[in-house]
């Protein structure tokens, strides 16, 4: 079964928020397992999952180590809690980002969660600009080279110019959208339609409830 992006977001928030306060390693591990299972059954890119896990491993170790080294009380319990929490957040987030397209996600939020269309289309346009921003950073570095200057990736000037370009684009884009009839605060037709049967909301509520019970009693 495939969950609607809006339902996934509610599950994400419903579990993610209490997760920041709960102390249950078991609950976090269960979240990790279910999230991974969902990812695998929905053909999420295994390479991406592996890479994200690999990159966050040293961060998790660092966090865990700092609790063992500097914590008080049951330091091992604290360390494992932090590590399991980190991965639970990671996999939970990926259930949304790796299984849905940005466009489907944003338009689903507009349909079911009352997200403003201005925000959704603005964000969508920004996502469509991402490859251009990468190219722009390359151009900015080269144009500096042409003038005898070198911008390194850590230099703020590089990003200052990138932001300037982005502001320029955003203004052009806003004008383009207005010229194509996009009007803030007015009704518009939505051709995008998706399935959201009622049971998915029930399932979301159930998942959140189970997490709360697990984290309270285990």
């Amino acid at each position: 079964m495939t969950l609607n992006p809006s339902v996934l977001l509610i599950v994400l928030l419903g579990i993610g928020f209490p997760m920041a306060f709960t102390q249950s390693i078991v609950a976090n591990t269960v979240v990790c397992c279910i999230a991974l299972l969902y990812l695998i059954t929905h053909h999420a890119n295994l390479k991406t999952i592996g890479l994200v896990t690999l990159v966050s491993l040293p961060l998790a170790l660092g966090t865990g180590w700092s609790f063992i080294a500097f914590g008080t009380g049951d330091v091992w319990q604290q360390a494992w809690l932090q590590v399991s929490r980190l991965f639970a957040y990671l996999y939970l987030g990926m259930t949304l980002t790796l299984t849905t397209k940005v466009k489907e996600m944003l338009l689903s939020f507009v349909l079911h969660l009352h997200l403003s269309p201005t925000f959704a289309y603005g964000l969508l346009a920004a996502f469509n600009l991402l490859p251009r921003i990468q190219r722009q950073v390359k151009i900015i570095r080269y144009s500096a080279n042409l003038r005898g200057i070198t911008y390194h990736l850590w230099q703020p000037q590089l990003y200052f110019k990138a932001i300037l370009s982005a502001i320029q684009w955003s203004d052009d884009l806003a004008q383009g959208m207005a010229s194509h009839g996009f009007s803030e605060g007015f009704p518009r037709t939505m051709t995008y339609q998706d399935k959201l049967p009622k049971w998915q909301w029930l399932l979301a509520g159930l998942l959140i409830l189970i997490y709360l019970l697990l984290s309270l009693f285990l």
Binding site: A125, I139, I140, Y142, L146, R147, Q168, Q175, T191
Partner: protein
Amino acid sequence: MTKLAVENFSFRYREDGPEDLKQINWAPTPGSFNLLIGSSGSGKSTLLKAMTGLLPQFGGAITTGQITLDDLPIATVAPFERAKRFALLFQNPSRQFAMATPADQITFALENIQTDASLIPEQVATALAAVDISTLANQKLMTLSGGEKQKVALATILALGSEYILLDEPFANVDPHARHELMHLLKTLQIEYGKTIIVADHDFSGYTTLVDEVYQLSNHQLTQTDASVLNACITANPFFPAPSRNNLSPLALIDVRIDMAGRNLLQSANFALPAGQLGLLSGVNGSGKSTLFAAITHQRSYQGTITWQGQDSQKIKLKQWAQLVGLVFQDALDQFVALTVADELTLSQQHSHLPDYWTDARIQRTLTQLDLAEHTNANVYQLSGGQQKKLQVLSMLIMGQPVLLLDEPLAGLDMDSMHQVLDLIQTSLRDNQMSALMISHQRIGLKPYVDYEISLHERHLDTGGTQ
């Protein structure tokens, strides 16, 4: 029929600045084909944006008068109601789309004007077919050529059903073939669909038989002129000789081959750049001229060898390579490193290869020649398109790399500005024995400046000059 009227309209961008438009009166005849001419910076874009309600919504202020749509001030009409009556096609084709594909973009526009959802797919298909790009429906917009993007923009406007189609230099990034095609498409829209067409352009070629009325903006004021001004500037395309084979610059291409997205763009190009001359690189849009420049400047991969004094240029680090081969970008904003005109020039002067030539006095003199002297403290982002081009070319000439590649340095320049820029390029090349290769769709008026021509034609680099 909608009535669009400009009444005694004055406008300025900056509160303390001069008026950018002065007391304009204009009520375009419904169903007519209008050409709006005027030098760069004369306010053509400003007028068109004001007529479509984008200004003052996106900056500036009206000082007198108003623009009305069926006798209502345009600002009181919601964008989706405006779009059904008139739409603007922008100069830069890649910056007007919010969505990723042509079909998505047109769907988005139709949703905005609250078209019934069940009718949208058919209307999208009809609009794409009307401009003959049905096959591009689901291609990524980023991968389309300039001409194709403008067709998508035109299809969107058609789908919206706008009665007035305003176009702001729509052919600036479009090859002559696509330009011709688009111009006749506009004429068809006028005749068969009864659209009112308003095009701002300063390349007059091809308009004589199309236009009904010609308007001119000069000194920020609008006057109607007769179509004879169009003929005055049209002369036959000049011919240019083949490049000389002696006295060569250090740069040469040996068996260079370029592929793009699995498609071969250039087959085995061999060429040695002549020294101290200005060459023209011609070829229709999408033939790979800019891509060839990107290869020469090491901004993209290629096969074969590009040599510098007989050595493989790949052995030279990009930082050093950028000091041997300079590039004037197609988009002026890509060039600028500083914020103001003065800073931009100072920066070039500090790193110049020709510090003795580019003295303060010479730069000042050049700025006066280019009509930029009054703008030294201006923000580069606020200059007009033409002024940006001039500043861009000057900045790179001051840098003085031994070889300079110029990608469309004349795009968007009126005749006077074009001659100013070409004079400047020619003088700098001669005085400093620099070599340059220039891409330009504009051919008229180049005769006194261009020494030779090479052209990209069907994946071959033709170095035989114009036959």
